[in-house]
Amino acid sequence: MPYNEPSPLETRVLSRRFGRPNSAAIDTYLADGGYQAFLKAAKMKPDEIIEEVKISNLRGRGGAGFPAGMKWSFVPRNSPKPKYIVVNADESEPGTCKDRLLMEYDPHLLIEGCLIAGLSVGAHAGYIYVRGEYRYLIDILDKALGEAYQGGWLGTNIQGTGFDFDLYTHTGAGAYECGEESALLESLEGKRGVPRIRPPFPAVVGAFQCPTILNNVETLCAVPAIIRDGGKAFADLGVPKAGGTKLTCLTGHINKPGVYELVLGFPVMKMIHEVGGGIRHGKKLKAFIPGGSSCPVLTAAECEGATMDYDSMASRKSMLGSGGVVVMDEDTCMVKAALRIMRFYAHESCGWCIPCREGTAWLRKLLTRFHEGRGTRADIDLIGDVSKNMLGRTFCPLGDAAALPTISIVEKFRQEFEDHLDGKPCPYEQARHLVTV
């Protein structure tokens, strides 16, 4: 039960049932107006459903931020092939732990989102791809699916609407790369999770080579509220071009870490200090990752005036990402942070594209050498060069995800690399040793 105390600054649309007793049970969901959005959608035309999602300005919550309604509209509904709904529940972007709560506390919300997505493109089957580490969530989801079948909310002729829909859970087995949509589809077919070349995009050639809506858990969980209250109401919660709320995971050196549902466009400093209770031990902010370790790092100065939305982060050359906020205080060694992030990408690179496979391995070696005090001045530029040569040269964004934070750390915290030169031990590591021993 990892849910934190809610904050009064939250706008709880998706998380409204978090922490309630028996929140995952179908009776709780039905008593709270659950599945009414599906019944409403069943009376709408597919185009009307998609239009409502477009109006809502809902953008993909997995990290890329692609407009969901537009993604849905790319599915060729007149194709003779079956269509599928695939849920990306492979949450594994470092810093991100919010889909977990949605599935734990409100599995029926996700099921209803899948049903509405199914109606919008004429899909009759869906798969929830859950990372293997989240086994307890598969049990929760399977129980919820059982309840939904029993209550007539899944299966054939759902509630007399004439609509048929089957939904299944599917487990991954440990691979960050499978959170990338095309690798996920390969994995769903029982293969190694290597990315596919695009186009064609999954909307046209997706699961089992058929047209597919593939969305993150949080994206689909937003859909019932959009249909229930209208796309405009959802859009109005956020900022232009980014509607609604975002589940934001506050992590790192912060007094009140936790998952909070905040409107798009929430000010970064207010989030850190008022929602998150400020930096731990009264320290100063040094660096900020807006949405998972793939995002370029912001300095404290860049956080001033920034808001948690796609455009504000893009204007600072970073990304809103997945909602995994990482707060780093003044005592953090940025070389060590860069190294740990790179170790992750080197471990998770699937090896399919050479710039990523080789680049991440070389960067891990360079950063390890640096952190041990054996780096040279030329290495600082080499780290930046190797990273820049990975950008845009891979099938999937993992190569970019490894390069972007590294480039930002080298550019913005170059002095810390210089402080490690000439065999000097890490200054922060020494301080840390003194404080805690």
Partner: protein
Amino acid sequence: MTFSPQLEAKFEKLLTSYPPGRQRSAMIPMLLYGQDEVGYVSDELIEEVAKRVGVSPLQVNEVISYYSMLHRKPLGKYHVQICTNISCLLNDGDRLWERACAKLGIGHKEVTADGQFSLEEVECIGACSWAPALQVNYDFYHKVTPDELDRLLDGLRKNAV
């Protein structure tokens, strides 16, 4: 190869969960659920899964090597997985890792001589707001202090005896 009736039922459901001719999709779930019962992905399990999904054992092997949760050797009864990724690192997850190594006398992907514990330094397990975090088999432990880690391992050792 024989499995428990519960696992057989699970396999049967998996094999009918995918479109016709797409039974291969059941491979990874079958391997993971099978591993939970057998203890690791044995040669026998590979043969069996290959037969049931209609591919060659070599094709199964090729898939296994990609996924970090599929283990070809037996793990300890308690597989302790400690996250040291960025959010856990900032909350001293690396210290937790070192403490576990010292206490159990083993390192990354090693098993204690009595077969009770195995240890793995893992990447982000999705518990970042409750860091530092670890998993023992599939159970999550959040905001783990070094003392709590000691108590947890001592408690598990008692259970094991």
